[in-house]
Symmetry: D2
């Protein structure tokens, strides 16, 4: 489901921002009576992209929750809807890391048509790293390192 | 949101099966491109009804999870769709307790139009009582008592 | 489900911005494994509030779609998550009209705890009025009038 | 996303029941606070499998709706939950055609773990073929033929 666009073999990899492209197909349940995808599903797809970007960066968000007791909670989400998305359409979620600090991570997203590359929506989510009691926490070194590498720094 | 049809003042209350009627309004997000409610939402509404029946029986399912560490996990669910349900329609979820044993609870449901009483769907869910590690557990006395009273025994 | 806070009897009603407060209870299906409401549900609740505000303004969005062939499509949505929202919690969706032009409508929202009034989330959605083929359309006079009255102009 | 297990090259293909296996990964939004997949999502996954089985059979359900004005509406759905399904787990939806008549189609499903093949859930959905006004309709010859071939008759 996930295309790996890692630039690991590129000599300037360190300076290149990681991008993940994950493809999904619109489910019937995601449409509404307007005949298009209901607008809250875009946030769910952003999450699919975000998780695949982290997998591409070398770790699993599931394990980060399970093993470290750390959560990447959503603090803010924005989506701009550029074109209707239809049932059974194949959509690419293009996810990039926009900013990372010890306890704050910002991702940006584009949804594009898999066939024609048309821009369907774009958005951004801001996250706070928390522990299991929802208190702000700092990303441990190994994650921070992976995030910084992914942003090209 | 919940109509209380408790028969507490009725002299034969002990023998009368409790019924809960909870009213909800169809959300846009619950429709699909067929112009009707997508069929998995009925199971979510059954849960709304089931939780309100428990509240009517005298306890909160939330507290049962929190304070007792007990869960009522779904083991089987069936729904028969009798008529399409439309956006913005008001629907009554009529929930009854069908059977209760120490570790097994069966609820039955009817979805009816709030205005015309037309039968829209009916179904049944079978639940297993579990502890937080998903092992089968027995309902503590106070809950078992409430469930038995609700089924009219 | 909807508290009517219409200021119709107030002498300066025309200058007062309409606010709708609609109460809902968090469903189990709306939680995620972090133990809180999953963040895309807030957009669904915003829609519940928006539809109730329109009903309070004197018309039904359902009929607007059915009878006029007009849709209020979402062009942009933003949500800022202020506090976790928990299962079974009662939440008030407070909806206001922020701006209205012939083909653009902006709503703002606050989600607050029904018991303590605590701010849980706030957001904004921008909508384009379209016809059934997704082309931009102008709000007919009677709706534009209602929207302008609601914004206090 | 869909593994094609068509037996088209097999000499007894006509007598072999078609099976589709489609793989999906559990989304965070699909979990609930019990830490497992919420039980209504299984029905959505059944639909994903059903649509992929039809694609494997040689046609797209989307086009059947669009071009023929025919719908495969759900009349009954049942799911038996055999084991909890967890976030980020890869699940195979195994879909078979169980019965087909001119206006009634029955599909059966198994959800199995992609790694260990463990049975996670099984179910069945019964569908009525309808026209766009929800009246019962007969499957046109070309679809009926494809369905009968898929059931091995």
């Amino acid at each position: 489901m996930s295309s790996d666009h890692s630039k690991a073999t590129h000599p300037h990899a360190r300076r290149t921002q990681a991008t993940n492209e994950t493809r999904l197909r619109v489910r019937y349940a995601e449409t509404d009576q307007m005949g298009v995808v209901y607008h809250s599903n875009h946030l769910i797809w952003f999450e699919v992209g975000r998780v695949e970007l982290m997998r591409q960066m070398g770790f699993s968000y599931r394990d980060m929750e399970r093993e470290e007791g750390l959560f990447i909670a959503v603090a803010e989400a924005t989506c701009r809807y550029r074109a209707p998305i239809f049932y059974d359409q194949e959509v690419v979620v293009r996810t990039r890391l926009k900013q990372v600090r010890e306890s704050v991570i910002i991702f940006s997203y584009e949804l594009v048509g898999a066939n024609d590359g048309a821009l369907l929506a774009e958005g951004e989510t801001t996250h706070i790293v928390t522990d299991s009691s929802m208190k702000v926490a700092a990303l441990p070194g190994k994650y921070l390192h992976a995030f910084r590498a992914a942003i090209g720094k």
